[in-house]
Amino acid sequence: MRRIPYRLAGAAAVLVSLPLAVSPPVVAYAAEPDYTITVDPAATGAAIPKSMYGVFFEDINYAADGGLYAELVRNRSFEFNATDAAGYHGLTAWTVAGSAAVTNDDQRLNERNRNYLTVTGATGLTNAGYNTGLAVARSEHYRFSVWARAGAATSLEVALQTADGTALSAPLKVTVSGDMWKKYTGTLRATATSDAARLTVRTSGSARLDEISLFPRDTYQGRANGLRKDLAEKIEALKPGFVRFPGGCLVNTGDMYQYTAANNYPRARSYQWKDTVGPVETRATNKNFWGYNQTYGLGYYEYFQFSEDIGAMPLPVVPALVTGCGQNRATVDEALLQQYIQDTLDLIEFANGATTTTWGKLRADMGHPKPFGLTTIGVGNEENLPEEYWANFLKFEAAIKAKHPDMVVVSNSGPDDQGSTFENLWAKNRAHGSDMVDEHYYNSPAWFLQNNRRYDAYDRNGPKVFLGEYASLDNKLYNSLAEAAYMTGLERNADVVKMASYAPLLANIDNVQWKPDMIWFDNDESWGSTSYQVQKLFMNNVGDKVLPSTATGAVAQPKPITGAIGLSTWRTAAVYDDVKVTRPDGTVLFSDDFGDGNADGWTSVTNRGNWAVTGGGYTQTTTDTEDTMVKAATISETDYDYTLKATKTAGAEGFLVAFGIKETGQFYWWNLGGWNNTQGAVEKGITSAKEQILTKPNTVTTGQTYDLKVQVRGTKVTLILDGVEWASFDDNGVTEPFAQVVTEDTKSGEIIVKVVNAQDTPAVTKIDLGGRKVARTAKQTVITGDPGEQNTRSAEPILPVTSTVGGIGSTFTREFPANSVTFLRIRTR
């Protein structure tokens, strides 16, 4: 790391690296500090809106059913089927002793609740719940309900028990009276604690049953059809300024048509809010985009109610008939578009309309006559077809603004932080003057440390930014430190960045489609990741205005791209040949034409695929394996050309040509024919994920031999395909391991100094508060630890520590620990 001054034009002195011995945090520092923070004495910074930080709830990783939604019974309405997920059926999670059949006929409970269960004779039904079972706690009460009808007098005996049949509650007796659908309820009290309980319903005779439900009485705020308390409270503790819901890719993927007979009840539908309101037994079901069933028991009313309960602004996202998320499809149907627009207007009526209106009345009927105060609405999510999306967005926006001129309508810029879709959509939004643009990106920690200044360059008068989804790609403290450092940049730019939410919010440990995640859980426990702790610290200490400050100190210069070269494939068979690495002057550093019949010198990185030397080339023959990387020849020089011939023989995609492969697992690869042979890219891989450096359309033709050349010159890489430059990039970002922002909480009269030190050495820092008179002590909260550690169910080694510290003044020096986030709340005098 080279120490250079930055951000202070006049600071010419190059700071000397200090051997930082362990020293108490408050001492007189004789030596020069590593860093300085100087708050401008006079300038006023951006006002920070209350909505600055929020949460993004999407039903991914079983976040709703089997997660935040407190229902303990899985597949309570017998609606699961194989469209939801392979192997699902109407009795998934149920075992039957006796005779029970899932029935779909005109005797059903409700038109949109298609299935019910027909029980013949005395029968036992057992539900296994989620994860290892239903989680019940000794002496707690559980609310049972069922819709039932029976021709002859039939009684139900309902109880909790263990998997092997030991009782966990006294039985509840329900007598079904009459052959008309009727709801029966009762309460069970658990006699022991278990995370593997079963719910059993034993019938004395034949009956029809539906909506067999069991909720803990102790839901969040005690609400009926409520939320799991520990999870809701963890979200509440964040003090989020907004809740973005219900997605995500969930919103706008799949079939765009309604759940009706005319449409043959399509199962993998876009998120249509009207499916999710009204009594739960009338709600439609749907396949969740992430590969399971969603009951919609947690629906729009519950989202609004939860937002209100935690004091957050509701921010719904509606579909705009265009998909991203790998589907990349536009549904062109003008009538349907008009219906979607009307649905959106109806949604605003549901949230805000008078109880005399159709949808306002439904809200009141559901228990909330007062409006929910919807002010902001998102249209669309990560559409990869910018032209089609934009045309529809304009129509949504026009219709909403025509009726609700003050409604903030949020557009978006596609699924990445850069690239052609991003540029295209931003240009359109700027030209149009959109209210706000939703950006999404998941990148390496290095990216976050290199892009602290991203929003410094944004047009102060252009559309505002909603950073709707972001995360650094793992769940370790180091990732959270990178996010924290980045958040100082968001706050500094609070005049442009109005909202930001880490994503995803929730993950059921046994059902993970995406990680990292902020809050993890199984059926009876939940725990916050280190990013949860960082988000909580920021959200609880926002302040309401930025005090402009500058910093000086060390940054890390980019390093040339060196390391092994590699070859890989992704569900594709291919032949590679004539592999050569040369210096720019042509000196050969490595070459293998596989003419010797062997692949000596090549080793497997991923232990996947089937590599062999056949016909004078290096062949990988599997077409069902992802990332079969092999590597050779560690290149330590900074300037070199990596050339090879590549021929696809079969499979879904194209080539992966890797370079700069480090022992740590970091690498770059040139991806040709990626994304089912639609797109090329350069990706930078880190331990467990990849970020895109650049992307452009590309396909690879089977049987055609391509000449590929990767020209590396330090940090600059040029990719040459059949002699023509295909793309180039310069991975030359300066890494800033030290980041800071200073804000003021006007109401409490406190200055909040927020410092992130994302490196392995402590940072002795001189802080100048610009002459402000302050107390001699401050409330300090520190999150620090081994940067490779993470919080899981088996241990939470990274937790915030709050204390009162002295030595504070209008100028003072503190040592910020290695790998730490430190917040100092300092009272002004």
Binding site: N475, W520, S688, P787, G788, E789, T792, R793, S794
Partner: protein
């Protein structure tokens, strides 16, 4: 090597062995120290060829028992002998072989033998025949007194961990009346191969508590090749619970780390445990021992000297997957203790005779130490290997003093300067009055300690060997 180049009086040296003389030259009665007795630990290296993940019990009814991984990964073996040395040649009993198909038909790894409540238990890791790497931990029980007897062993089943996943290297210990298990497992959220967990046991095959993660690979030396913390071994001493473990891939990068908890702390709390920032036992190019680790602890025949049991290869370059290179051999060496109560592991000591450390009688808590090629006398140094020497006997009865961590170098005297060099100065050890030895480097000239310096003088310093 000619160790006699500066030898002037070989006959004197030979005589000295027979008839020790004191610093002032007068004959003294008294025996010279027996280095083997001082070292107390067998020096055969390897002790057992091609046995990895070695586990040697403390003596039970006078017998040491050994088990470990065999290169074929197909069976569980137990040896027994009245001495640690004897394990080298003891007959090996196969107490269990993996089934031809199904569960436990895959790789069989790292068995450990524990005596709990008057019965024998073996914890071992097994893959399945159709997926040899689907490794889970299983427990066997034998009510017989002799664990070598295959007839006694009964499979108790798979250890039911909090979550299903890659699980291996279980070790058991009792502390303050509670039985604990420490094991390695992969955890779904953590992008590493294995972390280390602890839990309290209701019985040897049933958990009483939920698992607590006490270590996950985070340091640069823990994540080379594979991101691994595994092979835990427990040693309770000096008011502390020490857990050694192994990290990185099973090639020359394999090495050992150390976790420490206070013996009075709640061992099930994550915050009770501290990981030492650096590895405590690593490959050594000079002694040519590579990838040392997966250790266990036993105690020497004297009943008090702690013995470090580990495996290592004696070459670095491996052809193919290190997992299938059979030459991880079982080795033993002495475990030392710093005066502050923490263990000193030093380096894999390699081949050679018993090892001693020298403390001057005027500074009994200091040790003769080499720093580069120079010598000094230092108070309780942590660099154990710099204080370890072997007295190598020549045919004439004189000895040279060989450095353990620089085995091609010996103590050399030139004038009054003492240093390390290729050609050792023959010395003669003479029993000193009041204990210890004087070390004569030339007629009337002895190793002499003064103010932390090691020099040569007519006045001999008595050195205590330990």
């Amino acid at each position: 090597m000619n160790r006699r180049t500066i030898l002037t009086g070989g006959a004197v040296g030979a005589l000295a062995v027979v008839l020790p003389v004191s610093a002032d030259g007068a004959p003294q009665p008294g025996a010279l120290p027996d280095d083997a007795e001082i070292y107390s630990v067998p020096t055969a290296d390897p002790l057992i060829s091609q046995r990895a993940d070695p586990w040697i019990t403390r003596p039970v009814n006078g017998t040491y028992y050994f088990t470990g991984s065999v290169p074929e990964y197909d069976r569980l073996v137990v040896r027994g002998a009245p001495t640690i040395d004897g394990l080298a040649t003891a007959e090996e009993s196969v107490i269990w072989r993996r089934p031809a198909s199904g569960k436990m038909g895959g790789h069989i790894w790292a068995p450990e033998l524990h005596r709990i409540g008057g019965k024998w238990y073996i914890y071992f890791a097994a893959g399945d025949s159709d997926d040899v790497f689907r490794i889970r931990t299983y427990v066997m029980e034998s009510a017989l007194d002799d664990p070598r007897d295959p007839a006694g062993w009964v499979l108790k089943g798979q250890l039911a961990t909090e979550w299903e996943g890659f699980t291996l290297d279980a070790t058991s210990f009792t502390h303050k009346g509670k039985q604990y298990l420490v094991w390695a497992q992969s955890e779904p959220e953590i992008a590493v191969n294995t972390s280390l967990y602890i839990a309290e046991m209701a019985n040897p095959w049933t958990f009483r508590s939920k698992p607590t993660r006490i270590a996950t690979p985070t340091k640069s030396w823990e994540i080379i090749g594979f991101k691994v913390n595994e092979g835990a071994a427990v040693l309770i001493r000096n008011g502390k619970v020490f857990i050694t473990y192994s990290a990185s891939a099973t090639d020359a990068n394999y090495c050992m780390g150390l976790l420490t908890a206070s013996a009075s702390s709640d061992l099930l709390k994550r915050e009770s445990w501290t990981k030492s920032p650096d590895p405590i036992f690593v490959s050594n190019e000079k002694t040519k021992r590579y990838g040392p680790g997966h250790n266990s602890f036993t105690v020497a025949a004297d009943g008090k000297t702690d013995v470090l049991v580990y495996h290592a290869r004696d070459y670095k370059q491996i052809t193919g997957d290190p997992l299938y290179d059979p030459n991880r051999h079982t080795r033993v060496q002495k475990l030392y203790w710093h005066e502050d109560g923490t263990p000193l592991f030093g380096i894999p000591v390699g081949s050679g005779g018993p090892i001693v450390r020298l403390s001057p009688s005027d500074r009994p808590r200091s040790f003769v130490k080499h720093v580069g090629d120079a010598f000094q006398v230092a108070h309780a140094p942590r660099e154990l290997e710099l204080t370890q020497f072997r007295f190598v006997k020549a045919a004439d009865g004189t000895e040279t003093v060989q450095s353990v961590d620089q085995p091609t170098k010996f103590l050399v005297v030139s004038g009054t300067t003492v240093s390390l060099g290729a050609t050792g100065t023959p010395v003669t050890r003479i029993a000193a009055r009041g204990g210890g030895v004087n070390i004569r480097v030339a007629p009337g000239q002895f190793l002499h300690h003064r103010n932390g310096q090691l020099t040569v003088a007519a006045k001999a310093t008595a050195f205590r060997l330990s």
